[in-house]
Amino acid sequence: MPISAFLTDPSVCIGCKACEVACKEWNEIPDDGFKWSGQSYDNTHALGASTWRHVLFLEQKQPMGAQLAGIEEPFRWQFLSDVCKHCANAGCLEACPTGAIVRTEIGSVYVQPDVCNGCGYCIVSCPFGVIDRRPQEGLAFKCTFCYDRQTAGLMPACAKACPTQSIQFGAINDLRQRAKARVEQLQGRGYLDAQVYDPQETSVGGIHALFVILGQPEEYNFPPAPEVPTIHLKTAWTYALVSAAVLLLVVCGAFIL
């Protein structure tokens, strides 16, 4: 099967949260707390064990098309549906000690709920803060990229439910080109801060959920240069094993001297 991907384009998102609802219904995810955040219309706060699509509501000091804010300062209200990035080099997958987290034939990162034992190491290994443990089951959960639907030839639930094609689904190479074209189009229309979010230059090596963003990644709580934690394996193990060897020498010395 071809490597599939999402392209999420906030410039046409209307903040309807149909993706959140579709995701919850299809995947039978429990509620995520009904907590009022006070942060614009965002009441799901962040991605988590029971929130696999999360619509962000940003207030930026930039003008936007025909939006009328009724205030003198430049202002735009932006929506973006966040999702697991399905990294090419995934921190969660590398960290998982049980082999519960696997790479599928469609290029996605999938947590097998019947294998995971809830050790929690993936949670501190995800540079995007996506995966989390659900207290009720004690297992780690995140977006499955609708692996079940995709292997049956269907589009992921969120992309299917999106009314404005803000969430597009397709082969990764096509979507990378489409993202580039869209950014050029947006810049041509005066959105000079439009860019593609797809960290290919860092150790993450690109993601399978691309985003077109207006402004900087930080504004969306996207790490500007995410690194997969295993790049530090060599340094940490070298220091650990050399220190342990020194410990052995100290013990020998203590008994001999």
Binding site: G38, G99, F128, G129, T202, E218, T230, L247
Partner: protein
């Protein structure tokens, strides 16, 4: 009638004031009601998305730092037992150290299992071996260590009851050597586990954490042996070296001015790190140097070091929890290498 007029004036003035305040500041300070989290930060800019954390905090419970400590003491004790045995030192010390190693190993597994979200699936840890996952390496190391140390203790106890033979001796030597080697990995891998993560304060201290975990494991196991009555120059020497290293590490944490290390210096967790550093560093060092001739003082020094080593494991996990909340530092670290487009 006059009263009603006055009242009206007052309420209307209040409403006018409210409207003015709302128009001027964008919010109204009401008496008695303060929405949780208010004033709410705006989205965007340096603070990220409304200042919300980008990373997820660790879900590890109190058992994990306790395991870090128990595994460290056990691993180090197995190495001490092997070296003491190989050099033909006091056999009662070898026996005690092996028992400390075994008890530490026996305590470790239940602690790790209790921390799992699904404890009944603990055996899945041994489903695959993934060298790139420190957690997988650790699970296998603990399994090998427990088996080796268990076998060594069994051989030793059989030997003490008058049975002997070349096979028994050979098995004992192999088990002790395997236990010592696995012990060296067991006491140090937990620092790699933290260092190889997305949590800034852990990964940015990937060079300090191994030194600290190894030194405090050595000092704590020497302390346990001293408390069991083995107050000899060897245990004192090990404890002294550990205290010297710990003093240097505590000083270096204090001296550093990196923003990412803020959780190690500030607030409650900062004081925990400081207390732990004092208990494992200067305090036992000075006690041993100046009053070390008195056994009672050495016991006090041992207790200090053990408490400090235990405390520091908790403090490091708590520091990681704080660090996961601070997206600004994460952005700064990543922007240092990749400037904004």
């Amino acid at each position: 009638m006059k009263n009603i007029d006055q009242l009206e004036k007052a309420t209307e003035a209040r409403l006018d004031a409210l409207r003015d305040e709302a128009a001027r500041t964008g919010q109204v300070t009401a008496a008695g009601i303060t929405p949780a989290g208010s004033p709410l930060p705006p989205s965007g800019g340096k603070k990220g998305y409304y200042g919300n954390p980008l990373l997820k905090p660790p879900v590890w419970t109190w058992q994990v730092p306790l395991y870090f400590f128990a595994g460290g003491v056990a691993g180090s004790a197995a190495s001490i037992a092997f070296v003491a045995h190989a050099l033909g030192r006091d056999s009662s010390l070898v026996r005690a150290a092996l028992w400390v190693a075994l008890l530490g190993a026996v305590a470790s597994s239940p602690l790790l299992i209790a921390d799992l979200g699904r404890p009944s699936r603990f055996l899945n840890m041994l489903r695959v071996f993934k060298p790139r996952s420190p957690m997988s390496v650790g699970a296998w190391t603990l399994a090998v260590f427990s088996s080796a140390v268990g076998l060594a203790v069994v051989c030793q106890e059989i030997g003490l009851r008058g049975y002997s033979g070349d096979l028994l001796l050979a098995v004992r030597w192999i088990a002790e050597a395997a236990g010592a080697l696995a012990g060296l990995v067991l006491l140090s891998y937990t620092s790699v586990l933290l260092a190889v993560s997305a949590i800034p304060v852990w990964s940015e201290n990937r060079r300090l954490l191994p030194l600290h975990f190894v030194a405090s494991a050595l000092g704590a196991s020497a302390g346990v042996l001293e408390l069991l009555g083995f107050l000899n120059p060897a245990t004192n020497g090990m404890a002294l070296v550990a205290a010297v290293v710990e003093t240097c590490l505590a000083v270096s944490i204090e001296m550093r001015r990196r923003a990412v290390d803020a959780p190690l210096r500030e607030g409650k967790v900062g004081w925990l790190i400081r207390a732990a550093g004092t208990l494992t560093g200067p305090l036992p060092f000075l006690l041993r140097i100046f009053l070390g001739h008195a056994f009672a003082v050495r016991r006090v020094a041992s207790v200090c070091f053990i408490l400090g080593a235990l405390l520091s494991r908790y403090a490091w996990i708590a520091a990681g929890r704080l660090s996961s909340r601070d997206s600004k530092i994460l952005f700064d670290i990543q922007r240092r290498e990749t400037p904004a487009k």
